[in-house]
Point group: C2
Chain length 233, copies 2
Amino acid sequence: MPITTIGFDADDTLWHNETFFRLTHQRFAQLLSDSDPDHLSERLEAAERRNLGHYGFGIKGFMLSMIETAIEVTEGRVEASVIAEILAAGREMLRHPVDLLPHARETVTSLAADHRVVLITKGDLLDQERKLAQSGLGDLFHGVEIVSDKTAAMYQVAFSRHGTGPQNAAMVGNSLKSDVLPALTAGAWGIHVPHDLTWSYERAEPPIDAPRFRAISDLGALPNLIAELKNTP
Amino acid sequence: MPITTIGFDADDTLWHNETFFRLTHQRFAQLLSDSDPDHLSERLEAAERRNLGHYGFGIKGFMLSMIETAIEVTEGRVEASVIAEILAAGREMLRHPVDLLPHARETVTSLAADHRVVLITKGDLLDQERKLAQSGLGDLFHGVEIVSDKTAAMYQVAFSRHGTGPQNAAMVGNSLKSDVLPALTAGAWGIHVPHDLTWSYERAEPPIDAPRFRAISDLGALPNLIAELKNTP
């Protein structure tokens, strides 16, 4: 079966992302250290999950959840100066430099020569566009999809719009939950490139029995894997 | 020149939006009435404009700008309970029911029968998807573009992707700045449907000398206007 189209996740697949969230988590904990709240990170994570349906994925929603959690864990006693620091930390995330992961540029460049390569990412629209522009990879992609969530139906649409359908496509990313499992359900190859830091929300069991599931240790192994998969019936 | 494709703006063109921002502005002013800040609405608007480059358009950015302004105008003395009320007001906006404007459904339905109709809107991705789903108009559109900003280049891409290019397209919306002017620059028709309430950011001078500029008082006049434009050389 030919592979005409390769979808790439962006955050923590092509460039660092979770590391900025972790640093901001730490700064958030420091800001609230005076009130020494119990289970701070669990409560922030609970707020993030609770608000996903309203805010979607991305930094702005994370900022709003941090503010909500700061009020909640201090029982309304948090100082406005702390809230101002949270806003500043969030705006800093929105400006952080884009730092490519190893082999990202060479792998996308090499595969773009004889495949349609598509960036498929979720998060805040403007923030993802900024990162793509700053990454210097923008011109390599034949298509870009910034989506509110990654589902099998979304992969069906994206791989049909930018290629010849999911049967002829491979999706590459660090999240089993968002990049691999729904792509497999849509009929594409699902290629996992684990990242040291992955948000708990994105974790899932590896689908080791799925015939179209593969895992590689870094993007440098992708061109050979794709060549090999093309010879797989 | 045939018109194959019609682009519709969403907020305040197909359904009410600015009215919810105005109500939240009022609630915000009430929440801060004790500290009686000078020029509150100007300062909120200044924060919104200042933050557009970071946050983009949409409710989440508006929430963050309200929080920032509340801290700023009280010189850091705002109570956490007020911030919590601002968060609640924003989440309420994200849940507000979708209320179609007059003639929206019949006009899109009628034009969808013999044109490609495309929704082109900016704002938060998830929020715009929610409103489209709740509007009940989703199935009428041949394409949906949720974009970070409305520029001539964006209209060029959108009308080429979903139709036969801007020369054969008309863009319909309440914002001269976002819907009409850049669509005209791209070579499309720009049709203004004014709304009583329009955010100051979206205001611009009507391009009365542009041959492809038209204005109608409500969407009910659109099918006849499109029929007439098709007979215009």
